[in-house]
Symmetry: C2
Subunit: 348 residues, 2 copies
């Protein structure tokens, strides 16, 4: 089959790789009908994280179940399924409390599983899915093509934006600030709005992203950054600060922005992988502002998000502003790297 | 009147100071019937925080209302009152969400108020209480002497231990680890137990404190520290970690201990003023362990804790293991500094 490998920073190729098949009786084989490129895929692409040898890449996909292992009970051939960006058994003590991202037996796409067998990346034609019963979430029937982008978005960015809002403790009536206007930040806006926030402040200085933020429910947009951005939020909130803040970037300035906007007693929900961000413990202590979040346990939210998409309540697929065939995946990386696209959907 | 001043590290004196009286119409004048020495009073005493000139000290007291200002509506002369360790109006936007420790008009005992008028410290005979309606919590009647230590403990250590448990999200059935066996940590044990934790693990290597922790509801005691302490907690929890962790010290090793014991998805509730503690943001992200807490909004919990004491449900006054007359306050500091006493109660 054809699948994407990253060979080195800036070097993305689609190549022939061995066809995957069932290995463990708990596996499923999925034919990928849509995948995409994640902001976090840009780290190795940009050389921020190391690429020591060519490896498979991509961790977001939806598709059709082609085959299931003998012990798989909840899935059948022909079903449309959404894969979260990590696989998990959904039964271990961490999974049982909704922390599937720390599953005792789970792992990530593209690397070896715990038995040393290769696991495919999402940016390819097929994926062997370990722990399929615990990992995959099916739709009642094969959905209309128009819904596929939004279902795909649930595999990572929507689930991650949702986790930011859950971690920040968003409640109906809240004023929520979202730091970051990437796909995750925009989904954070959608999540906060969906959870009943009265006011959602998107911090963005890009017009197209501001527009999408407003479509997703942002009531206010703050284009300023740093001290000016904080001042703007404080002005919007009568000097009090936001009831919940979503930090969807991971840099030092983004985290400072987030804490600067947070009212005493609130929580900064963070889902941007920390690269430069620090927790300002003295400020946190003095102002009683908490920090919670991390690698999103998307699996925990996936049924709920799927149902929201199927019912037409949320349309996170709007974050995809470019669609390319898998064979042009390198162009997809370039478009996102150059910020010409928010997020690129890949079709087989 | 007589009141305590700190002149320099190690130099605590009781001296004659001007008698306080009502200044603002929102003031009350309280005759102190019991006060005490706090672990945080030891910082200037030990020279950890600066003492640039002699100043009043002490921030925990209970007493009898002697006089109220013209605008005070909820208090009357002769009532027994508990003062939280900060005064607050209880009406500003921060107070209204239970964050009285960040009150827009509040402040601390012993320093000038926002109008520049002196506010007495708690370790003296009388205190002028600003914003008395918002600050003081009265008992229905003057309580029996036996209850006074427990009511006094609510002014800081019990309220602070309670805040640690609230911040950590303690729920019925939880396994809770408490790092720190000072008066606050011990009250954290009591709080967790009172909130219905099934298992409360006190980390302590002092026999007398272990015994009190057990009286307060600890089901397990872990004497080991560092990696050994973490391993002991993991063994107690089948490798999963605690559902909630209370960090009641503030040092780097204590915070590391706390995060090492916390299960993924849990929260470290911290109330030890950070002196060396850092938030391990990468670990927090990877394991989804949150950090919340800070300067305890004791006022928010005070009615509830008062009622718990009056009903006999909690007896936090057991943390006092030495009682001295105010005139011997210097000995009280010495006893706590040398860890001969957990906490010293001062009588007029």
């Amino acid at each position: 089959m054809r699948a994407t490998l990253i060979h080195a920073p800036g070097d993305i190729r689609v190549e022939d790789v061995p066809d995957p098949g069932i290995i463990a009786p708990t596996d499923a084989l999925v034919r990928v009908t849509a995948s995409c490129v994640c902001g976090s895929d840009l780290w190795p692409y940009r050389g921020v994280s190391k690429v020591s040898r060519p490896r498979r890449i991509g961790h977001e996909f939806v598709g059709i179940v082609e085959e299931v292992g003998k012990e798989v009970t909840s899935l059948r051939t022909g079903q449309f399924v959404i894969a979260p960006f990590l696989y998990s058994d959904n039964t271990c003590p961490h999974c049982r409390v909704g922390m599937q991202s720390v599953c005792a037996h789970g792992g990530g796409w593209g690397g070896p599983d715990r038995d040393g067998h290769p696991v495919d990346g999402g940016q390819g034609e097929y994926v062997r899915v370990p722990l399929a019963d615990g990992t995959l979430v099916a739709t009642p029937e094969v959905p209309d093509d128009a819904l596929v982008p939004s279902l795909l978005a649930c595999s990572d960015v929507m689930g991650t934006g949702w986790h930011a809002a859950v971690s920040a403790g968003v409640q109906p009536g809240h004023t929520v600030v979202v730091v970051g206007d990437g796909a995750v930040g925009l989904c954070g806006v959608l999540a906060a709005s969906r959870m009943g926030a009265e006011r959602v402040v998107a911090m963005s200085r890009h017009e197209s992203r501001q527009a999408l933020a407003r479509e997703f429910g942002a009531t206010d947009v703050v284009a300023e950054r740093g001290e000016d951005g904080i001042a703007a939020v404080l002005e919007l909130t009568d000097g009090v600060g936001a009831d919940a803040v979503l930090e969807c970037v991971g840099t030092g300035p983004a985290m400072e922005q987030a804490f600067g906007c947070a009212r005493p007693g609130s929580t900064v929900g963070f889902v941007g992988v920390p690269h430069g961000a620090e927790a300002p413990i003295t400020t946190m202590f003095r102002r009683n502002v908490g920090l919670a979040g991390g690698v999103a346990p998307v699996r925990d939210y996936l049924e709920q998000l799927r149902d929201g998409v199927l019912a037409g309540g949320i349309e996170p697929g709007k974050v995809f502003d470019l669609t390319l065939p898998l064979e042009q995946v390198a162009d997809a990386y370039t478009a996102m790297d150059e910020r010409r696209a928010i997020k690129v959907l890949l079709e087989p």
